[in-house]
Amino acid sequence: MNKIIKYVLYDILRSRTIIGYTAFLFLMSFGLFNLESDPTKAVLSLLNVVLLIVPLISIIFGTIHFYNSTEFIELLVSQPINRRKIFLSEYLGVALSLAMAFVVGVGVPAMLFNPGPTSIYLVTSGVFLSFIFTSLAFLASVLTRDKAKGIGIALMLWFYFSLLYDGIVMFILFYFADYPLDNATLLLLSLNPIDLGRVLVLLNIDVSALMGYTGALYKSFFGNWVGIALAFGLMVIWVMVPLFFAQRKFVKKDL
């Protein structure tokens, strides 16, 4: 399995997209920390960009890479290698390189300018989001043979999680404002990995006070180790579930 990951990584490094992505993240983080005098504020701005960019790049790059690897996968499938292994190696190759790009591009400047738990949460959330959206990308890719359709599905997923979902949540909160929604908001939160990432970082900055009653609720829930462990547990589930379905589909697929 390590061998196949090695060849996948080699192929990814050749395309140079990942290097460009790393450089972009690095320049952006570096710039933001230099523009803002208060590093906490910079982390906040960084968070907003990261939550938009990381899922988008991960899901698009993951999908394109999967379709471009069709030949490689076909070649390997006729060799004495388990299909599950081929699939997981492809996944780990892509997810690890995206996560590495994030750690180098955002993690290093964040730890330099603003060492502390906030930066650690930011980096962890970013790494998780890379894994989650690569997992969703692979799910989108095995669903259809058509590359254009696959990228379409991937973009729809990103659009849903990044933009649409918050709209729906706002709508629900507004519409049912007369009812107690504390637990409902917690549930809604766990249904979107991007929101999970956002809350984890925000709670470590004092702006959570600005989030009113809901913020206080989050703080009481995520403010302790149990809550944080639960949040990361949910993120792990967000990685595993799409990956599991994608793998199951891939193993049965006719090539």
Binding site: K3, I4, Y7, D11, R14, S69, T70, E71, F72, E74, L75, L76, V77, S78, Q79, P80, I81, N82, R83, V251, K252, D254, L255
Partner: protein, 233 residues
């Protein structure tokens, strides 16, 4: 060596393989023939686990192989259309395959030499012509000295000299006691290398006989005409 039992496969409404059974033994060169779209490639892909049949069993050396993968170390496969990672170099491809299969058998580099593949080692696979890709593919299929060779239209796209090299190679491997499955449309070639013919029409089994008996039944000296007569029946 290979047994197919009641193999069926359909893509949606299209029945590609319909209840196919067969037995192929070591030392045999079997040619799988049939009109375009008769299920030859699907049958081969089922054998390699690239396509999962809807029902039926496949046994290699007596063990069922569907959803297994270890058995593929016994098979060298040359696909109909060779598709390789575009920006990988030929040399890297050979290195990678060796690395992945890590076979402890002696490697068979005869075709690499005869096709002068080291001359293209530094070229990327995307830049190779169709014929050169076929040569690389043939060399890879033979490289690991496997007991079974599966060649899907091997000489399509090869120049006459290269096809001749491949045919000589097939006969040589046959004499080592290997089982060789070839799908082909070129009757003269089949006549030269194959012992038996397995015929599929629209996913249905038609006949599986030795070339001699086909010629005898039809009273034709040329295989092409003999097959045409068999199909007309």
């Amino acid at each position: 060596m290979i047994t197919l039992e009641n193999l069926s496969k359909s893509y949606g409404k299209l029945q590609v393989l319909n209840n196919i059974s067969a037995q192929f033994n070591a030392g045999q060169v079997v040619s799988i023939i049939g009109p375009n779209g008769s299920g030859k490639t699907t049958m081969i892909k089922c054998l390699l686990g690239m396509v999962l049949p809807d029902s039926g069993r496949i046994m290699v050396d007596g063990a069922p192989v569907i959803k297994q993968w270890e058995y593929r170390s016994k098979i060298g496969y040359m696909p109909q259309i060779s598709r390789f990672p575009e920006n990988m170099k030929v040399e890297q491809l050979f290195k990678m395959m060796r690395d992945i299969r890590k076979s402890n058998k002696v490697l068979d580099e005869e075709l690499i030499g005869q096709y002068n593949i080291p001359a293209m080692f530094q070229k990327s696979l995307g830049s190779l012509s169709g014929g050169n890709k076929q040569k690389v593919s043939a060399a890879l299929a033979c490289l690991f000295n496997t007991e079974i060779l599966v060649l899907d239209e091997p000489t399509a796209g090869l120049d006459p000299l290269s096809s001749e090299i491949l045919k000589t190679k097939i006969l040589k491997e046959k004499n080592k006691g290997k089982l060789i499955l070839i799908s082909s449309h070129i009757m003269s070639e089949i006549d030269e290398v194959a012992d038996d013919i397995f015929c599929l029409v629209d996913g249905n089994f038609r006949f599986y006989q030795s070339i001699e008996s086909i010629k005898e039944i039809t009273q034709e000296a040329r295989l092409g005409k003999a097959i045409a007569k068999m199909m007309a029946v």
